[in-house]
Symmetry: C2
Subunit: 354 residues, 2 copies
């Protein structure tokens, strides 16, 4: 289309809007071969300084930028990894996402991410879209419980690491926090401060971490020889209304709980609100799973089981890139420890029994 004969005076090659110059255009303008341009663009050796200069000039003049789609097609590797999580807006996932990004960056890879909104179908849709893009690897915080759909992809070489929750019905690497241990510690802590009737408000029971935390709760109670009433356990969505209802019911029962263990971030925040509205005369002890900003500035400060979400992401991404670098071996399951941070709310004693 454009006249590329060397003699022609075409200082400003008129290009259609949306059409970008290619290596061919650069080559024509610089009066060199296609491959030479490729060599310059990729910093390969074997190009005379003078030739390189000519090519560079043509690149700048035309505003050429390599088309990575073509490059990827040719090379087979995309230098990008996918991250599928539940909700980017959740403060728990921000640092995790950022940590994965940093590791990716250190390996020269880009990060493509998406939110599953805790919907298994959407998770699958996203994951497969990423596979179609031929991401080199995947970090997944799973929403569903059946990941057999991933088997062909993994067999085809897509490295995959699950985070926060394990994969369902397939064998895959996973990096988890010690939900069970953390929860047992939390409840044991409340028991040590004299509580006997302890409520647990958690996430949907289908979510692995929620189930593990419930298990930790039961373990601590039974280790202390304490019974657990059905009414003391409430699992469900973490929207404020549900949590508010559950908490109120436990606190206003005939035999009210004297302490609450909140199964995650969002539950804790809602419980804090509920407690703030109640008479301060009868304070209720509270421990939350997950740390959150300003937890120490509330009065009382909120005692939490902290898990380092950035560390979780970093560990997962590291493992992913080790796999990509060829590390073999069976799928591994890494469990990161949690840490109880006492701040006051978890150390409140139960009210004196009448």
């Amino acid at each position: 289309m454009t006249d590329t004969a060397p003699g022609t005076a075409s200082r400003t090659p008129t290009r259609r809007y949306g059409t970008r110059p290619t290596m061919k255009d650069v080559a024509a303008r610089a009066g060199v071969g296609l491959k030479t341009v490729s060599r310059v663009v990729n910093g390969e050796p074997g190009v005379t300084p003078d030739t390189e200069r000519r090519v560079q000039e043509a690149i700048t003049a035309l505003g050429f930028r390599r088309n990575d789609s073509a490059r990827i097609l040719r090379k087979g590797r995309t230098a990008s990894i996918g991250l599928v999580l539940e909700d980017l807006a959740d403060p728990f996932y921000g640092p995790l996402s950022r940590a994965v990004e940093e590791v990716a960056r250190a390996h020269g890879a880009l990060l493509i991410n998406g939110s599953s909104a805790e919907d298994p179908e959407r998770e699958q849709e996203l994951v497969l879209a990423l596979c179609a893009r031929r991401v080199d690897g995947l970090v997944i915080i799973p929403a569903g419980h059946d990941h057999r759909y991933l088997a062909p992809e993994m067999a085809a070489g897509v490295a995959t690491v699950f985070v926060d929750r394990p994969a369902g019905r397939i064998d895959a690497d996973a990096v988890l926090a010690d939900s069970f241990g953390g929860s047992r510690d939390a409840v044991a802590h409340l028991i040590a401060h004299g509580h006997r009737r302890i409520g647990f408000i958690g996430d949907l029971p289908g979510i692995h971490t929620a189930a593990e935390r419930l298990r930790g709760y039961h373990a601590a109670m039974s280790e202390a020889g304490l019974p657990v009433h059905d009414a003391w356990v409430s699992l469900g969505p973490t929207d404020p209304e549900r949590v508010r209802t559950a908490a109120t019911a436990m606190l206003d029962a005939a035999e009210p709980v004297t302490a609450l263990f909140a199964g995650n971030n969002r539950v804790t925040v809602t419980v804090v609100r509920v407690l703030a509205e109640r008479p301060p005369a009868a304070p209720v002890a509270l421990i939350g799973f997950d740390d959150f900003e300003l937890a120490d500035l509330l009065s009382p400060g909120i005692t939490v089981i902290a898990q380092d979400s950035a560390q979780l992401g970093r560990t997962a991404a590291d493992l992913l890139f080790r796999r990509l670098d060829g590390a073999g071996g069976d799928p591994r399951r890494l469990v990161l420890p949690t840490r109880l941070i006492p701040r006051g709310s978890g150390e409140l004693p139960p009210p004196a029994t009448p």
Copy 2:
């Protein structure tokens, strides 16, 4: 390589690890032409139900998944947009990022994002990497002040919308919050409650929003006929140490400020901590720019200038896709309003003068 003759009994085609089946393989297995497979995969009309079934079977049997790199190369559109922000881990950007993602999803596009860490060079590096990937559009929260490097890309058809801060040295769409107006409101609010010596602790002066907020501060002060001491204004990085030092200096001066206006989220949080450590006898009024979770549960609740970061992201993404759908016209600058939410900390009176 693999024997694809129809008669051969190859139920499990042995493929090299990392080699994926292509449409050619599917076509051979189904005994149809290449293009027919393409038609089935893309749901194009003109395929007999029987043929379609055969193709589908071959696809499942081989575990075929379309290679989007090749597709993109051929079609020219990537159905993906890039988002460059400062730090994914910052709670201000989580909802923004999520909102952009939702809009992208509604348009069938994927989101590739990266953090600039407030480093102009890294911003440029990221943006250009995204351009090389041929993203259809870009949403940028700029770190630098010179975006001329983007001109060739935009000329080549990459739609670009700046958010939170305008572009530098080029003309481009931008979606901003009303930093100036919000800040003026905040400071006027403090003045209305009797304050005369008001401190401002903000972000680096090079950041557009920081400069605008400072301007709002000055406007409110001068509209009230109040002088501004140099010692009352401190701009700089938002790390806790710097902010702590600045706040302490203003509060412990010979003529201490009686109220503080914090220029953003992170500054506010640090200031809250500083104030919490001081004697409660002489409370200091505080208004922060940006709302944050639990601001209402602190005592006193923290009065803030709220900007809806999700709305910011949604608006920007909407504008981006309108541009991608062909909406022309000059670059637009949209300014979203802010809202003062009184919660107590901004309504504290100054201590009685002796």
